[in-house]
Amino acid sequence: MKQKIFKLKLLPSVLLLFILYGCQRDTIAQDTLQKNLITKKRVYQNDITKNTKVKDFIDSIDQKIIQKSQDNRTHSFNVLTDEAIYIEKENYHSYTFLIQRPNVNGLLENLVLSSIDNGAYKATIIQYALDSLSEIDHMQQPNLIPLENFNVDNLLAKDIYTCQDGEITIGFAYIGNADGILYEEAGDCINANSNAGCDTIRYWIPCHTNETIDEEDNSSGGSNDADDGNNSGNNGNSDGNDSDDGNTVGGGGSSGNNDDGSQNNDNEDNDDSNNTDNCFMNNDSSCSNEITSPVQERTDKKNCNQLNKLLEDYPVSPPLKSPRAAIVDLKNKLSSNNEEGYSFVSLSNSNPKAALVTNTNPYTINYKNAPNVYGGAHTHQNNNKKHPIPSGGDILALLGFSQQYNGPFAEPSLFEHITVTAQGVYAIKIEDMQKFLQLLSILNDRDDANNDGIDEFLNFDEALATKYQKYDANDNSETIAGSPTEYQREFLKFIADYDGNGSSIGIALYKADSALTQWNKLTLNDNTNIVESTPCNN
């Protein structure tokens, strides 16, 4: 009986002990979780300017750059402050902004503002090499340009050094929504507070910088020459396949400059990649405590910027024309018996130009296949010869431009194919290069080159033409009776599913306003089947 009473008295105590222990474990787990929590989200101008220190910092950058760039346009650039990637971990946070230069240098450049102990920020420019698809080339390590004390002379300095050691990959559980990007670090993604599974984020761990190089010594660390904008880069050991938002970079050397303003470089740590993982976010003063994630210009914006250049009016020496003048000329030739056109030529450090294509045939246009031809414009005449909308052949020609081009700034947003019709001026642009490249097998299967019994080149063009035909008034009409919206809808349906199996092409359709002042991106609302128009200035 005594034993029974003892057991009954003991039981609550044991239970209490377990509960308390459990609570303690919860607290420890919660602490660990908090310590490992990284928040990563996209923030916009309103949020950014609420932080007065960041706002002041950006303002001062702008003023100094404007002042400096009056002397030298090559060095000038803009920090795009309308949006940024915000990253927070414990007491640390950073803002990463996109940098844009008037003279494109073929690099992706970000400005990273990284919080430091006294509530201030330190700034670093990170330059990423881009691959042929304009994606970050993970085989080349980024260049880091620390802006110690924010000295604009450093910002515009000629010598840039690279300081990178290694990388770690961490599993992340996605807990954000479509608008913001919020990541919670978790060793076990499956059990994390997740609604969208895991993601992988790559860190590059910067090494400490403690050696001085003089301005002429570019040999160590893969220096860069900002004057000519060519990125020599360094070969890294990353095999990176991450998407833009999946890459996070520890950036910036902790001691960028000496008193004399010369830059430092680190040669010692370059062979020390195995130790650098431990370097991340600890209290070792030799390590950088910065985290950033690449910010790239959105494809929509890039395409719009490129298209807007076509509407600019600027003088060009004859016989060439500005693309705008070429489009205006084509609008005036819509009654011509033959298709008319211009090839668009890209030359280094100059605006695009348009070269007339001579043509004597009603249904075809022969663009010259020259290495610097990146696109073109042509008519679909209004005398019922062609449908007033881009054709399947026009799509494949865009792919052809992107494949033949061998000039400067060969990124997907460069390429464009314009169709001038009585129903408006249309442009097709590449939106997803990887998807678009899948059409290469079609482009190369002309005359059933792969001998599989299917001429995919021909089928592709016919599939879209067949869709257009249903709007050709009736079987025996002289006039094309489809409305602009009807043709647009067919085109948009086709590029969303060109093979009847749900495969999209990875391109977008734009239409200029009648005064040629603005482009609008046309999209099809899947729910309402309505063609929606979004101005390019948004």
């Binding site: 249904y363 075809t364 010869k385 052949g393 249903k470």
Partner: protein, 200 residues
């Protein structure tokens, strides 16, 4: 048992009906969004009159076209009744192209003949036909020039009867944009333009 057999029979019938390819007469505008499995059929046998050997002769220059009709050819996505053929072109006594042997070459598949197609062009479609009867159909056929693969060339074919003599009028024309290699000829070996060919 009888009831089960009836139900099964009905289900099988329904399934087989659903599996059948929708048949679209050539030239019909009412085409489904998804073309997979569709059969574009020459329901009125309007392609038949183009079958045969046709010759254009102008001094030492000649163009010989041989056409045949194939039914229900699968192009990888949909089925078509279409004209297939080959041609020979002699210019000023010099044979520039002779694809005629390919017509019986077992290594050449239906998609690799130098002439193929079935696209209907009505009299008032461009180019407007002034000598067509109101219901007459012309056809556009792909016209491949294997020496200039970068070009997209087609022929618009119209059938004519002239005092009992069968002829076809063809118009050689381009189709769609071309990215012309530097220095390459801008036109096909058979020059763009109109040719009248007489049936042999």
């Amino acid at each position: 048992m009888k009831k089960y057999i009836t139900v099964i029979t009905i289900i099988v019938c329904m399934l087989s009906c659903k599996a059948q390819s929708p048949i679209i007469p050539l030239g019909d505008r009412d085409v489904p969004d998804n073309l997979n499995g569709v059969y574009f059929k020459d329901v009125n046998n309007e392609l038949d009159k183009f079958i045969g050997t046709w010759v254009y002769q102008n001094g030492d220059t000649s163009l010989t076209i041989e056409l045949m009709k194939k039914i229900q050819v699968f192009n990888g996505r949909w089925y078509v009744d279409e004209l297939l053929g080959e041609y020979k072109y002699i210019e000023n006594g010099t044979e520039l192209i002779n694809y005629l042997p390919r017509l019986t070459d077992p290594d050449i598949n239906d998609q690799q003949h130098s002439i193929s197609g079935n696209k209907v062009v009505f009299p008032l479609n461009s180019p407007i036909c002034t000598d067509c009867n109101p219901t007459e159909k012309r056809f556009i056929l792909y016209f491949r020039d294997y020496t200039r693969r970068y070009l997209n060339t087609e022929i618009l074919v119209q059938h004519l009867e002239d005092n009992g003599l069968e002829k076809i009028k063809i118009f050689v024309q381009g189709n769609g944009p071309v990215l012309l290699p530097e220095g390459a000829p801008e036109t096909p070996t058979v020059p763009y333009g109109e040719y009248i060919l007489i049936k042999q």
